[in-house]
Point group: D2
Chain length 386, copies 4
């Protein structure tokens, strides 16, 4: 296991830096919106996690790389002390990008030293948590970067060749899968890593339902738009309708109409909308309105979990109709690690699956992602149920 | 049934006016906050419901009392046309209070005429819906009025003798009731009236749990406050902690500290906090934080529904840990009536039970009340589970 | 002088109540916007001034009518203690309107007693200040009332017969009066009452200028509107242009277009815009943009003061191009009275003249009114200069 | 003259780049607050001015460097077309810093070509305007950079050796200079360059006054702070007092208290406050409150202009008590150049003099700088008058 852990550490850490290869120094700096962070911050924050949660506690004599970094790169953990305001991440010109890479290298050297010695179960668990944490930030790094680049009227290209651009359902035939009612067991049931919010396998009663084998495409969503979907309050939740009007939303994020044709910004630049590609970057409000317009609904997270083994999933985070709430017997861990998930269990909706931006090896049937219903900036899509 | 309906109509309508007996003309006018409405508006809006949904459609030759009222007293129904901004209800000095009472009388006369004739099932259903609607506004009238009067440094008295002031648990002994796991049937199962959001009885799997027989008292909550409950982020959801800090919340609504003693505004004026009385006017954030501090949690809405027959309930709206979501097979009705409940099924939490301000005959085991987690102005309290 | 003072007191106080004759109780309550106040508040606040500044200090043994009123009806005076938030004046349902009139009567009785005795110069000065203060609030009472009534879709009538509705230039011939350059003396030069901000007569150098004998009419302003005045940034100050766009301003306050015709709300109800009547309810931004479009400019306050004896003035508050700043040797008085004017000498523009809503006997050539450049709710108009 | 112009062009352009020598690439990117801009933007915007106002019009066959730059680097000029939102300058990662330097070089090459040919008076005037414009941005580049670096808890150093850090009055003796009343001529009277807002020499009548020979020091201001200056409303304009309370202002910008000692961020890093150095980074509200506390006042802009030849000035922008208004006969130029100054003549105060950050050769006795009264981020200080 130890060798695997060392290798896993190396792989995850290298993948983060590989994602940054196409960037200019300038790209590392800005924060376009308060819920997104600069690449520089992601690079440092995941490193800070290893330094603070692991090296400082488990490697004797370890000296922190820079005392200020605890303040600058603590994302949320209130237990650990003061932290920079989330909204000010984009004004921190120092440390420089070069210094952040030095920081990463410094921590990697000592992590290698630590992992070369005896590794307790507790330590292994923490390292695995740190790696999963870094994988989460790999996805955020991509989605946050897309947000910044999309604001630039020059529509800069991140990578020309990428599955991040546009992809399609495995099978273009639309089908309904049916399930009868009954008690099902849900929650993480394996022996590997999972987050605390997936734990405690438990029974749930599911009514009979049908679920679509494919995700909604751009073309299907365009039909909704052309049918006046954004102008008819009947399709929308009251709060969704207020959101549409306040922000004058007329399309998924990154879409723009030029002379009657729809284009969208992709990480390969501005492109005409491909009607056969899978829809992305919609909010829960939009997903729900589209489903209602179709005379369908979104699946619950447990319907999804039960049905998923028979579905082609992993291309979009799929909005469910379930609010993000604790599982029975959910217990908040002691200390800073306990602030990971439980603090956010109100006013968010569960997304299931994974997306084209999710790192390899970071998806599970029981995985519970969650965002506020108005967020569009993830690679989020729609699967219908009824 | 017809006689009963006429009588029921008369009873409900009169009770609304009885609630207003202690008011001065000035009290009918202001709107203290955008989510509360002036008494004058409540009086007229419930009347508008009968006029627009019933008289205009079912009483031939009926002439509306005043064309402007549709605009002024439509609360939400987007189907029915333009409506005044919710936040401007308090600046409408006309119609006067006297004119609003004339409006009520006008509608009552024609409703009596209508109900004296043949009453179809459809009509009866609409009248019963209108009466339940008016009962909901009876409670809102009281809670909104309390909000306005409480802002006045003169602490005006609404009624000296009232169960609205402070009340106690039936039994002062605290006890846990235990329930085993298994499948239960939930939802409205009777033959009477219920709202669309309670409909479609269905199975749900409930894990084993314990629930308290009594509601949390002011004294118990004071202990939380004295233990620094509002200063320790560990007890709070992240969003709750932000709410505490942004609004500098230090106590339930209407509480104020004077020279080290806690007082609260009640509808009988300013009074010292009674430690044995049942706690009221807490938000979901506070309820959840208190429960966490106690090492407990809030019950789910289905745990509550299963346990309630054995509980003393009806004194406070009890925050549950359930988000307000549609039941399986929930269907939105056609037309304006369909805008009643379904539009609000996101970002709100379910409260179960009823309160001292709830009108008689307007409570059920299956009743689902719902509010945003930051609202304190209802008579809302806490029951613990674990 | 004493007899005159008693009579003056009586006259001013009665005129306030006469203005309120056409009101319903409901009209006294609401506050439509934070810079306007309810009639009830005006009635009480001017009375509080006499009670606090005069009776409590100069009438031995005087007992305050109600201790809470100091908190409720102190408008600004920070010296005197806590005061209710300005924005919450409309939610105070108590004291009732009846109680406020009792308060007025109470104070009037004791003021009569006080004025029947020996009246020192200091006391006389304070009474005269109090009366001028009440006259200012008489005008505000009208303008604030108009704001509230105008929001009501029923367009209620305050008074059918009134010079407040629409009026015309004395002479419909437009003329330019010319003045040569030179040193002029400005500031209040008489022996009567004036505010501190008019005091200290001093020299000023005025360049040669021309000024219009008549005020701009609705018809002239309509020409500006029809020429696209609100759509062309060239006419506007940068801040004015931002104001136009943020609030989507398309006309003076109270104007609305119905099927291509312009109407305006007046205190006699909704009426078609009279092109020959004098324009009212424009902001400084609009006044300045109109002048620029005309190839003219607004007069400075000193140009106005020098030219006014030859003009027909008193129908509109006339926006000048002068910022509201202290005169040389302006000194802030000691104590609460000193908070009257000097505190506001930044970011406001001077208006000269008087309006149809100004109380008789409350206007002077040296009078300096002042408002933020975005305010439209006074009877404010435009006189051109070049 | 032509040779001089070429040389002047070269000098000013080089000085801008010299100011950027100490920067890292990261420092060029962020925008800390909407009224400040990133160094990258300043570098490009001043270049855009030469390209758009001069090369495109006066150099035949000139091809723009990049079409997108007009959108990205137009600061205000509404005449010229769409422009990026001011608040989004910090999220534009492209063009890169390297590309911006290429842009500068490109424009410099063609400007050199243009200036090597025949230079009309109109062209010369535009070039001189462009150079003065660039000098203004040199100062803004420094003040905006200071704002960003100061937010960084690492307190980065820009330059260790700099007059930008702390400087002193030429003569530590405080003295009053006296002036009698009378008519004075003000406005720019020379033959060189001046802005449109200084033009049209005209008479003004000045009352007798006294003015201080030295600027207020940190030590003097600390005395105000220690006397409770920020806690006593009596010293403040009403709007200033609201500003103090809303933003919890307790000191000049960049000051922080650490264990009872005051430090300030300077461009050489964090340093203890030097009581003998000249006070900097105060708002007009603070300047006015300090003066009032001292029993003095701020000079008017004309008092300053008359007295300045006898004063040691040029170290701080000195707040005056004059609002920024047009001079008599001020005329807005035709076209885009006309948007330079006149658009901003409302709600701003005049500052006179120059500061340690002002570029050499960019100061005059008649120079009128202007900012909103709440701005602290310029090197602004206080000179007393009475």
């Amino acid at each position: 296991m130890k060798k695997n852990l060392t290798q896993a550490y190396r792989d995850v850490r290298q993948y983060t830096e590989q994602l940054c290869k196409p960037l200019n120094v300038e790209d590392y700096v800005p924060q376009a919106v308060d819920y997104a962070s600069p690449p520089k911050w992601h690079l440092a924050h995941v490193t800070w996690f290893f330094e603070t949660m692991i090296l400082q506690k488990h490697l004797e004599g370890y000296e922190v790389f820079n005392e200020s970094f605890n303040f600058l790169f603590n994302s949320y953990y209130q237990t650990i002390g003061k932290r920079a305001m989330r909204a000010e991440r984009g004004v921190m010109t120092r440390p420089t990008v070069g210094e952040v890479y030095q920081y990463r290298q410094h921590v990697d050297v000592y992590m290698a030293e630590l992992l070369a010695g005896e590794v307790s179960q507790e330590l292994e668990d923490l390292v695995v948590l740190g790696l999963n944490h870094e994988q989460q930030h790999q996805e955020l790094l991509i989605t946050d970067l897309k947000y910044v680049l999309a604001l630039n009227p020059m529509a800069p290209v991140y990578r020309k060749d990428s599955n991040l651009v546009a992809d399609h359902n495995a099978d273009s035939e639309f089908e309904w899968l049916s399930f009868g009612q009954g008690v099902h067991s849900v929650g993480y049931q394996g022996n590997g890593f999972c987050f605390d919010n997936e734990q405690s396998v438990h029974n749930t009663y599911i009514q009979s339902f049908e679920i679509s084998t494919s995700l909604v495409t751009n073309g299907e969503y365009l039909a909704f738009m052309k049918a006046g979907g954004y102008e008819n309050f009947n399709h929308w939740l009251d709060e969704g309708w207020a959101w549409v009007n306040k922000f004058e939303v007329k399309s998924p994020l990154y879409w723009q109409e030029v002379d009657g044709e729809w284009f969208y910004y992709t990480l390969a630049g501005l492109q005409p909308v491909d009607p056969d590609a899978i829809l992305s970057h919609v909010s829960f409000y939009e997903a729900n309105a589209f489903a209602q317009w179709k005379g369908c609904r979104l699946p619950t997270e447990f319907e999804w979990e039960v049905a998923a083994p028979g579905l082609d999933w992993g291309k979009r985070w799929e909005w469910t109709s379930s609010a993000y709430l604790p599982y029975p017997n959910f217990a908040i861990s002691e200390g800073a690690v306990g602030e990971y998930n439980g603090k956010f269990m109100v006013n968010q909706m569960v997304l299931r699956g994974a997306s084209v931006a999710t790192s390899e090896g970071h998806s599970r049937l029981s995985y519970r992602n969650f965002f506020h219903p108005y967020f569009q900036w993830q690679f989020s899509g729609i699967r219908l149920a009824k």
